[in-house]
């Protein structure tokens, strides 16, 4: 048991080690909800070719877990979503700890070095650079805990991301059309079946943030507002009626799920963003209490081994 007597250095080291494990969890073990959806798709699939592809996907997950190797070689842009309680004792140290843990995890797991200088094209070699890993903050009042979710966002699916500020006249219809068009244009490139998220808000960055939040929501979970949940179901059905299918081969699901996240808008704007996650939708979450207890709600089976 870790008590209040733990020193600041020990606590920081503990967060660092826990973050390395979090990155390993994300890279190696696909979240249960995504895996279930892929297994379901495999069971239902009638196409010979598509069945073989889905089998390859499931075999791949098994090998990754058994050998503790990253299931996909593109371990992505590393994106941390931090919800930190205002009273969490090590809030100020988190950026440094997350960067150190990322560099160490890159060497240990290992991850692919994916941080490239925009001007020179040089790879930093350790997944750390300007604004990478990316850290998204949310401060939680009256809490002394921290919840950190990591998303490993592959380049292939990020390449089709879009953000546009529509006119209010274009509105929801324009937003839904953009989601359909994005899936249509993406075709086989985004490693379908995908998770597709539509974000709506007042400005470009709000829409993008809403869409990313949509990608973080588990497959099969509907929006709490029944009106939006209903639109999600219709949009999922419409995306799947396109018929791109597994890896764009014409059979099986194009999307495993569609999520919509909304913020309020400005009277003159209707900003939208569409984001796509490949079937290798890698994310993992950990919680740290103020006395240093670490849990992994998304990968609770990892809590046994420390």
């Amino acid at each position: 048991m870790v008590g209040a007597s733990i020193s600041p250095q020990e606590f920081e080291e503990k967060i660092k080690q826990a973050t390395i494990k979090l990155l390993m969890a994300a890279a190696v073990y696909l979240p249960r909800d995504v895996k279930n959806a892929l297994e379901e798709a495999y069971k239902k699939e009638k196409g010979e070719l598509q069945k073989k592809m889905l089998r390859a996907i499931l075999d791949n997950l098994e090998i990754a877990e058994k050998e503790k190797r990253p299931l996909c070689q593109d371990t992505g842009a590393i994106l941390f979503y931090v919800k930190v309680g205002e009273k969490f004792p090590y809030m100020g140290s988190l950026p440094r700890i997350l960067r150190e843990a990322t560099a160490k995890a890159t060497e240990l797991i290992p991850l692919r070095p994916n941080v490239v200088d925009v001007i020179t094209g040089k790879n930093t070699g350790n997944n750390v650079g300007n604004y990478l890993p990316w850290i998204d903050w949310e401060v939680v009042p009256n809490s002394d805990e921290a919840e950190i979710t990591v998303m490993l966002k592959g380049g292939g699916s990020e390449a089709v991301s879009m953000m546009k500020v529509l006119t209010p006249a274009e509105g929801l219809e324009g937003a839904l059309k953009a989601a359909i068009d994005t899936a249509f244009d993406a075709g086989p490139r985004t490693c379908p079946p995908n998770i597709i998220a539509l974000g709506i808000g007042a400005t470009g960055e709000i829409a993008v943030k809403m869409a990313k939040r949509g990608l973080l929501r588990p497959v099969g979970e509907r929006h709490p507002d029944p009106k939006i949940a209903e639109i999600e179901k219709k949009l999922l059905d419409a995306v799947n009626s396109l018929g791109w299918g597994v890896h764009g081969t014409g059979s099986g699901p194009t999307a495993l799920d569609v999520h919509i996240e909304i913020a309020e808008r400005h009277p003159a704007t209707y900003a939208i963003s569409v984001m796509v996650f490949c079937w290798a939708a890698r994310r993992a979450t950990m919680k740290i209490t103020a006395d240093g207890k670490v849990t992994y709600p998304s990968h609770s089976f990892l809590e046994e081994e420390v």
């Binding site: 692919r112 040089k122 791109w244």
Partner: protein
């Protein structure tokens, strides 16, 4: 849908037998080559300089691996394909000038690549995107690496593979592009998708 076990180097005759929808398991030497590698290879060829490896009859893989060094030897940890569409700009010229026979990637390639496959005798195949652990399993060892200055993902990794697959033939050497055929259907479905949402 026929299944083939091929060994590199492959002959033009072997490659011309393949049709879209066929499945290939590949054994022998495979070179990784992505955007930056294609660009550099074509620049060297244009200047009349020698390439570090001979691509004639061989297979290239659009892939940037995760690697680690163990006891001084490189080891592949995860090795799934990258999106080939980015490489479309280079592939016609590369097929023509390098003599490569099998291209492995994911996500599809365009008209120019299909033209080159027909004209010079090559195929474009896909390995299941995202299946990095499965891909690594087929790689027996790394026998060399070139152009590491381009970074780990973009270097040329020389790999010995055993029964690497399933690889699905998407572009054959007869002018067929599987994805173009699917796309025609999806284009027809687009109206229906809009209609479902009353757009």
């Amino acid at each position: 849908m026929a299944e083939y076990n091929l060994r590199t180097p492959v002959s033009e005759e072997e490659v011309r037998k393949l049709s879209i929808g066929d499945i290939v398991y590949l054994t022998g030497t495979v070179y990784t080559l992505r955007d930056a590698g294609h660009k550099r290879a074509l620049e060297l060829i244009a200047r009349g300089e020698k390439l570090p490896v001979d691509f004639r009859g061989m297979a290239i893989y659009h892939m940037g691996p995760i690697v680690k060094k163990k006891d001084g030897e490189w080891e592949i940890v995860s090795a799934g394909p990258t999106t080939s569409t980015r490489i479309e700009a280079y592939e016609y010229d590369f097929i023509e000038k390098s003599g490569v026979r099998i291209i492995i990637g994911k996500g599809g390639m365009g008209k120019r690549t299909a033209e080159a496959c027909k004209k010079f005798g090559a195929v474009y195949t896909i390995f299941t995107g995202g299946a990095g652990a499965l891909g690594a399993k087929a790689i027996q060892r790394i026998t060399g690496v070139h152009w590491l200055d381009l970074g780990v993902p973009e270097a040329i990794w020389v790999m010995e593979v055993k029964e690497f697959g399933p690889l699905f033939v998407i572009i054959d050497s007869k002018g067929n592009n599987y994805y173009e055929q699917i796309k025609e259907k999806v284009e027809q479905n687009l109206k229906e998708a809009y209609a479902k949402l009353k757009l």
